[in-house]
Symmetry: D3
Subunit: 248 residues, 6 copies
């Protein structure tokens, strides 16, 4: 059930049976020579919609731009600063909490969002309690990173071994190929790829990772792999969502 395709009456009815909502969050950032700039948002949105269908949960609008400051030396990247993203998350949750939602499950496509999301949750819990909004103390947020699902990780290791890398990975590229087969890119990748550098400033990042990949070989990706990753992620995060909803 997509919030964007619902009416407010339908939301009202939904809230009688569930206080939970899934919020997909991605990023708009370089993903190497062949990865799509929208990779993280595309994956999060697709998986979230899949989970929502299977589980009959409300799925909110995708947050297309996240915390990708370290990628901003590559053209096409758009990033919120962490301080902006904290306010954005706070505004989202505050709006929805006033309407009666109390369980927020973020399906996330970008590792760089995790720290800021967690900081935003802490900020928001305190904000809601400060304002004495009804049910403030019951608000709960959780992150489900599709790329960190045990089943996804296992398959990626089987298919790609060390060539999975940690950014512009074949697994995420495969998932976008499954969703947008018309946007599969054919570019010859250099066989050497940088890896193992820590992430600091945007300038430093581009110096360390000149083509944007971090130890990955996205040439291994196929749409069929993408389908497999999709199925695994939807199943695992669906269960994770249900567990979250059933916890106190």
């Amino acid at each position: 059930m997509l919030l964007h395709l619902s009416t407010w009456h339908e939301v009202e009815v939904y809230l009688e049976q569930s206080k939970g909502i899934i919020l997909p969050i991605g990023s708009t950032e370089q993903h190497g020579p062949t990865g799509l700039i929208g990779t993280d948002a595309i994956c999060a949105e697709a998986v979230a919609k899949g989970v929502g269908e299977v589980i009959k949960a409300m799925v909110g609008p995708t947050i297309n731009v996240g915390m990708a400051l370290h990628h901003t030396a590559f053209p096409g990247t758009i990033s919120l600063r962490p301080s902006t993203m904290i306010l954005l998350i706070r505004d989202y949750i505050t709006s929805l909490t006033k309407a009666g939602f109390t369980k927020f499950y973020f399906i996330n496509g970008h590792g760089g969002n995790i720290a800021t999301l967690k900081a935003a949750f802490s900020e928001t819990y305190a904000h809601l309690e400060d304002l004495q909004i009804p049910n403030a103390s019951k608000v709960q947020c959780q992150i489900g990173n599709w790329f960190m699902c045990g089943s996804v990780y296992k398959l990626a290791k089987e298919l790609y071994g060390d060539e999975e890398g940690s950014h512009a990975t074949p697994s995420e590229v495969a998932l976008t190929q499954y969703i947008y087969p018309e946007a599969i890119k054919q570019v010859l990748l250099s066989s050497e790829v940088a890896s193992s550098h820590k992430i600091y400033s945007a300038t430093n990042f581009r110096e360390c990772y000149p083509d944007g990949r971090m130890g990955s070989n996205p040439a291994l990706a196929t749409p069929e792999h993408g389908k497999q990753f999709y199925d695994l992620a939807v199943k695992e995060l669906g269960n994770s969502y249900l567990e979250f909803m059933n916890s106190d």
Copy 2:
């Protein structure tokens, strides 16, 4: 050309021939008993993609949540505060200006975004000049409101007369019906509809407009109308974009 389906190399190539980008911005807010909560984002995104295809312009990710504080007494609405939205817009434009973009054309689906967008542009121009970012003084932002296109307005008047109203209008509902025919809602609308109240607090808004409509009769909408509105908006905003690109 969609930014989300491009690689950073493709963006680099694009920037050699154009410094312009289209950014769709909508809202996530109640649209009356039959209108979709995502109406404004859906419309802005569809029109922006249409313009991008026709004009061969880059289209960035949709900003799904805008300034809809006055709708937050209805469940399902999500709103940024203006102060948050200013930071968000500033972060978007700053990221893209560093990459070389200087012309930002926002295709907007929500009247409530306009004031804050304009404030954000002013804030951003000064921010970029303060930081002495190259080309800062050349950055230009413009808003194209699809629903305020002369051709769109004319058709809406012809089709609906005064029943167009000003929120949850048949024209925007028609456009969403064209894009998502599977999400057409069948709800009996009361024949009386509130109108003419000014917009103040969220509580006051819901008191004044109990079912969320503002003087409109969205029951008049059809997907065929939606197609007409789509074609008109794409054409008119396409020309507006080209004019913007050709101006100094």
Copy 3:
């Protein structure tokens, strides 16, 4: 009745009969070779005081500096950033709402303030409701732009035609001449004047409008015209204020 010339007891008494207050807001910005830097504040203050006298309404202190970032490449201009101005407006309204005021009528002398004022109103309504301040949901703000009064506009067209322009206009210069006849400037204006450029960064603005005028010929202004504009604006905004007070 001027707030600045009242005691707090008098305000208490006033609040028993009215919850309305007029707040003049101007700007401190270049107004071409002959226009006063304080033009927008001078005009707003004069008209507001005039309205206050006629209507027996409370008039608050003039906000002398507004949103004029695009004029800051000219010496003498002072501007708030929109984000600062939003906080300022929020603080003003919050202070006065706690005291019992609920109707805020801004008499505005500067087009560049409008977008940020509207954003500030939205921010403030939500802020007051968040804090659960008594009467928060009843707070209403409205803008009365003296220069956009129908009667003022009509007279300006009659007197100046296209030479009214859109900044450093003869109508606003005339009004300042009426109020400060001792500060009428005699400078030879070039017969050519820039016009039709959109407003972007401060640097760009000065490049487009080298002497600060936007399509105007302020040499046409006279103090007598100023008197006429004053009378029309006071009358029209007085009625507008009363209408605002009588609305729900």
Copy 4:
């Protein structure tokens, strides 16, 4: 020379001979049963204009609302929060520094502004140096409190002794009587007046000082005293301004 009555050309000429500007800052707050709510702004503005005339210095627009949070339990008071006021002062000085001003002399009418002004100056010096604005390191701000002038203090002691008190004082009331004789209030003051309480929250302040006075007897004020205070303050702050301008 008033900035508000000057053109930008005149400012340009002024800057060739002086980099100094006087900025009057007051407050909009209760001043006891007979004191005007605008007292602090009225006094600061009058003295600033007087100094400007004598010394031929540029005088900027009056900051009518300052930091008066502790007075907000009395109707009519308007206050900025310190965090807002810091941004306001930063924006003012940044605008003027870009134009070439480097010496900012604040003529202040309200003790409650001092701490926040000093904090704002520190914030602004760092902000300007961070932005690498030309002359940033030369920017200097100073506060001239008219009510703390040695000569003013001496006269107040002579005229009123301990009845001068510390808020709604006869000296400031006298000064407003001199400037606005038409606004002299006749109210019987209770002979007892609270004093010696420290200033904490707004609620606490009103509990401690129920009529708003702090140990003062403003009934002693006369317009003639006001003239004397005015002359002393203009003279002493004029000298202080010159000393400031002549220092490195």
Copy 5:
């Protein structure tokens, strides 16, 4: 070498040979019935000083209060909001970067700080590059969590097994006992202890964890254990710091 016991000349000399600094960061929060409120700050400071001595590295002042919003329903807890802490960290690093430091190693005593620290680092890298501070692109921050050292973790498991828990743990209590033997608390702990609840709002946290412990049995702690933890942490973090300094 402690920054607080150095002169600025000594810092200048130090910078000729090293650009690195250690910054201890803790928290001020409840640590169960027997744990000290300062536990996290005490441990971070002690370990940081130990590392600084062994490695001859500069150690900055301890950040005593961190992100502990979820503990604020227990008296004695003090917490920054994440948005405040981001500004604090940004200000620290900006000050030190201007002086020439580029490598910031945070020795952290509190798991709740990690997300906000990481968000703060991202914010700061971008801030420094935006301001074009020399060496901005070279700035690097790293976190060394003493309680997550492999050697520490191993010993804790050996000594306490599952009774280590995750807050008010015997290992951290032991370390404070070693440092402040005079502050060892004797309180009978209930044998049952809550565990496995996720962390959300402060109110919820106290409901879930009524005595403040999270699955731990701090009664097992001894000062002798503390000495062992101290030695292991100093050794392991010392190596980690050197590795950080030697990396690009």
Copy 6:
């Protein structure tokens, strides 16, 4: 009684008999050729602990970094911006107020903190009342500057006369020598020392005060003097604290 060496139970018990807490606040800034960078924090902490012992008052964690922007051109200085420090103070007091504290006594070691502290108190009183936190209107903050104690000042004058100066003073250096005799620095000081310059930007400060001292001769300091200053400050501030606690 140190908060950091207490448990939350002990704080709960303490609150039954007292609502007061002492918060030491210092700075991390250059103190001339021989003064320690931590001077202000060291002194504030030592005096606060002394007062806490004598008076049996709770002493919170030391705020080691304050408002020292004007010293940031000297390496080793760390400063918060005033806007950050206001948030920090607000967060501290908000946390503690929720727990039941209402009287906050800041023992301060740095003149540069005073203005921002006062601004922060005003901001915080309003913040707490806005949030309708219980006892918000009773919250009271006070600053006790150890170096401005009458007894301390008198002794400094006796011992050092004009060579006390106003920064890197022999009195504060003496106090650090008493506390950290192992960190007494032996550097030959030039007999000439700058004085009498006002404080503006960091760059300007270093130009005016090239070795960091402001009119002082810290070579006169001895640990024995430090002991005397310590005893005087503890006694005088202890009395001041008690007076604060006994006031309404």
